[in-house]
């Protein structure tokens, strides 16, 4: 069932999209109708106007889903499943021609030659100005200025069209003509092409780690694919193209010698250390500029104009040949389209970081599958499941060995027969160490469970320690003044700032994280309990004194219940903050938990996994909040009604 759904995501998505569109339209109509029949008695600003409106909620969810589908290219994939594959073939051509276009003012402002000359001249001018100011070594100064003049001469010789070799011109003409020839081939009949069986066997778009299938799956795609090979070989020829007139070669040799002389003569100068280093810097910089000039990539102006024209013509023909594909690209694949890197085609723009809703669900299903052998769970651990846990181990976990040490008088010693007979105390120790077999019980485990346990344990200790302290701080001068500075100093520090320290002290296992969360929960619980306790009406306290209650009874029966609303609000806030801190702490260290999953997903750029973890956290946070809201409604129904 899941397999089928997973393999037919495009179909599932198209059905969901239609349903979303329908529910969006229908709810908008219902909403508008409800607005028209609104009773007159509700004036603008009356909070009663906000009551009801389930249809707007559905409308909003539908709209959100539609937007998600659209920007993740989910709509595009649902209705044009071949589009990405074909776009990938086009991207192959774009990648193949990029070495040629990079030298030309295609998608840029200048010829590469122009940019090189411009930059070199600017840097040479700057360098010459600095060297003229450096008059500690007149000999070297004049030599360097001569070298700079030489480099300028080389640039001039390279830029002179008169020096262009006939064979270079011939090669340029060939490349230019070949591009036009290839451009004409976009019109060819490709319907006779046969799609290879390898191409058909590829995983569909987005169902495996390879985002977009590489081999062409449409006939037009085959045409593009073949074209990309032709363009690639042409690009190779273009890359081999060099412009080296004889006169430049001579000049380059001469300059090279001058620079070598300068470098060799560096040690013989009578300069002090600072100026020597400065002079060496000048020589090095000159050398660097010189090396940029002598690689033959600077062509005279106008020489490449022909190639530019034919490249533009080629790209124009390519665009024209796309036809409907171009429209699909614009309207259904928002962003920068498909880009081919060395090994794969990837979605660019919003689809890169926003996975399709159906893919997120599919990923979640895989993660939620408790069967590790079948590839479920994450890193060999289920998301949320159960396992058989030895009761003995659980007991051993909760009962510290020291309790047995306190009980015991003597552990037994081994016998003369070379055996060991455990006495009663030894057996108690086995019990406390969890070595006694007491049978097994099912116990939850998994990444989510681990995260939950951390929060719950931390909350437990935060409440049982924080609430009493808070209440005493609310009613006692000693507790208030003694603990206030301590808590107020550590509380404002963001929990994550404590994390490196706490994780070092307690280790990266659960203890460290639980202690970190405990610190968060404790501070919030203390403050809320304190507020609640100090907010007890004096008349209530006086009334209970008059009714004969002792101090302890007042604390237990008046101050504590009176502080309950604040305490529960504190619990609600601290669960939220703990949850946020936990995920961050798990990202710092550890091998289980929701935050751990997201951290690994981040390092491998698995955006689907990142979104799955975000959704899990959102849903769990919502779950906590709903539980707390129900608890608050049950436990303190009098709130806001005094």
């Amino acid at each position: 069932m899941f397999e089928w759904l997973s393999d037919n995501r495009a179909l599932v998505a198209s059905i969901i999209i239609i349903l979303c569109l329908l529910s969006f339209l229908v709810t908008v109509l219902i909403g508008l109708r409800a607005n028209f029949i609104r009773p007159d008695k509700e004036v603008f600003g009356d909070p009663e106007r906000t009551k009801g409106g389930w249809y707007w909620a559905i409308c909003g969810i539908s709209a959100l889903l539609l937007i998600w589908f659209y920007f993740s290219w989910g709509v595009g994939r649902a209705y044009f499943p071949d589009a990405a594959n074909e776009m990938c073939q086009v991207a192959k051509i774009e990648e193949a021609i990029s070495p040629i276009t990079a030298s030309l003012p295609v998608n840029s402002r200048y010829y590469k030659s122009t940019s090189l000359v411009k930059r070199n001249i600017e840097q040479l001018d700057e360098l010459a100005r600095e060297i003229r100011l450096f008059d500690y070594a007149p000999d070297q100064q004049s030599q360097l200025l001569a070298v700079i003049k030489d480099i300028e001469n080389i640039l001039a010789s390279l830029s002179n069209p008169a020096f262009l070799k006939a064979e270079t011109q011939k090669e340029i003409d060939f490349i230019s003509n070949e591009l036009i020839f290839l451009a004409e081939k976009f019109d060819q009949e490709y319907l006779s092409f046969v799609i290879s069986s390898d191409a058909l066997l590829q995983d569909p778009w987005g169902t495996s780690d390879v985002e977009i299938p590489m081999l062409p799956q449409t006939k037009r795609g085959i045409m593009y694919d073949q074209m990309s090979l032709d363009v690639k070989s042409l690009s190779k020829r273009f890359l081999k193209l060099r412009h080296f007139p004889e006169i430049s070669k001579v000049l380059i040799e001469e300059t090279k010698e001058k620079l070598t002389d300068l470098k060799n003569g560096l040690d013989e100068t009578s300069l002090d250390e600072v100026n020597q280093i400065k002079l060496a810097g000048f020589i090095k910089y000159t050398d660097r500029i010189f090396k940029r000039v002598d690689d033959g990539n600077i062509f005279p102006p106008g020489v490449l104009e022909e190639v530019t024209a034919s490249s533009n013509y080629f790209l124009g023909q390519l665009d024209e040949s796309k036809g409907t594909l171009a429209l699909i690209d614009i309207f259904f694949l928002p962003g920068q389209g498909v880009v081919k890197s060395k090994t794969q085609c990837t979605e660019q723009g919003s689809a890169r970081w926003l996975p399709k809703p159906t893919d997120v669900v599919a990923k979640f299903v895989v993660l939620a599958n408790p069967n590790i052998e079948a590839g479920g769970g994450y890193k060999g651990f289920p998301l949320l499941w159960w396992e058989w846990v030895s009761i003995g181990n659980l007991v051993g976990f909760f009962v510290p060995d020291i309790f047995v040490d306190l009980l015991v008088e003597n552990y037994s010693e081994h016998l003369e027969s070379g055996t060991f007979e455990p006495n009663f105390y030894d057996k108690m120790l086995f019990f406390a160490q969890g070595e006694l077999n007491l049978g097994y019980i099912p116990f939850p485990n998994g990444h989510i469970w681990d995260s939950l346990v951390r929060v719950i344990v931390a909350m437990f200790f935060g409440i049982i320690l924080g609430v009493p302290l808070g209440i005493y701080m609310g009613i006692s001068k000693f507790f208030k003044s003694f603990f206030d500075p301590l808590i107020e100093l550590y509380r404002p520090v963001p929990p994550l700032a404590w994390a490196p320290l706490i994780l070092t002290i307690f280790g990266i296992q659960d203890d460290g994280k639980i202690f970190l969360l405990f610190m968060v929960a404790f501070a919030i619980m203390v403050i809320s309990a304190r507020t609640g306790a100090s907010g007890t009406q004096l008349s209530k306290i006086r009334a209970s004194h008059s009714l004969g209650a002792t101090n302890g009874q007042i604390l237990r029966y008046v101050i504590l219940p009176n502080a309950l609303p604040e305490i529960l609000t504190g619990v609600r806030i601290s669960i939220g903050v703990c949850w946020g801190t936990l995920v961050a702490a798990e990202m710092l260290a550890g091998t289980t938990g929701v935050g751990f999953i997201e951290n690994v997903a981040r390092t491998v750029s698995d955006y689907e996994l990142i979104w799955v973890t975000i959704l899990i956290m959102g849903l769990l946070g919502l779950f906590f909040d709903i539980v707390m809201r129900i608890l608050i409604a049950r436990l303190i129904p009098w709130r806001g009604k005094g």
């Binding site: 008349s539 009334a543 009714l547 219940p561």
Partner: protein, 266 residues
Amino acid sequence: MSSLECKNVSMTFLNPQSKTTVDALSDINFSLKKGELLAVLGPSGCGKTTLLNMIAGFLEPTKGNIFLGDEKITGPGLERGMVFQQGALFEWLSVEKNVDFGLRMKKKVSVEGNAALVEKWLDIVGLKGFGKTPIYQLSGGMQQRVALARCLINDPEVILMDEPLGALDALTREKMQSLILDLWKRTGKTVMIITHSVEEALLLGERLFVMAPRPGRIHKEYRLPFAEAGLSKSLREIKKEAEFSEVREEILSMIWDMEEEIMGLV
């Protein structure tokens, strides 16, 4: 039996900001016999609530002593029940749990006995069948009835009321005034009631102190027949009597003059 006695009671407050002292009460002397109903009236700031708090044991007088019978008052106790303006009920408890709060704190009386007592007192204050109702669902008048029951169930010797009807509407107030008179008669308790309302003071006060401020003192003392009469007659009838209007006018102008004096001083 035991009477309530104030001997040379003074109370001085220190204002921590201006380091000045305020004489809230100066040299109060009075004695209240068992079963008497005392109403205390006065302009704001005359120290009537301070006096009540001292009798309840929440405050210690700076000078003088207060005795209930032979015993000197040193702190709050069950023998002096309090009823506050806003009820000061425990809203996390139901009506019956509020009423038997004092009994539960003692933990001596059996639970079954408690239930019967609660039932009885709820009946007396007119809240029969409201035992399980949460406090926050009651109206202001009903809440004051709970406060009365909560106080009376402990069988105190003195009942101290601090403007118990101040926050109620006129109609509820009149009903509650009858209830207080009724309870006073029925239980024979000593009652001290502080009020802002001259009419209420006249209706409820068998004895009446009009207090004056700066320093707080008893300005004039009355013995009035209206409380006794109110047991048999309707309170509205009493208000129509000529004698009632006469005393009311006298006290009103007295308090009016005091307020004027305060304004003039300021």
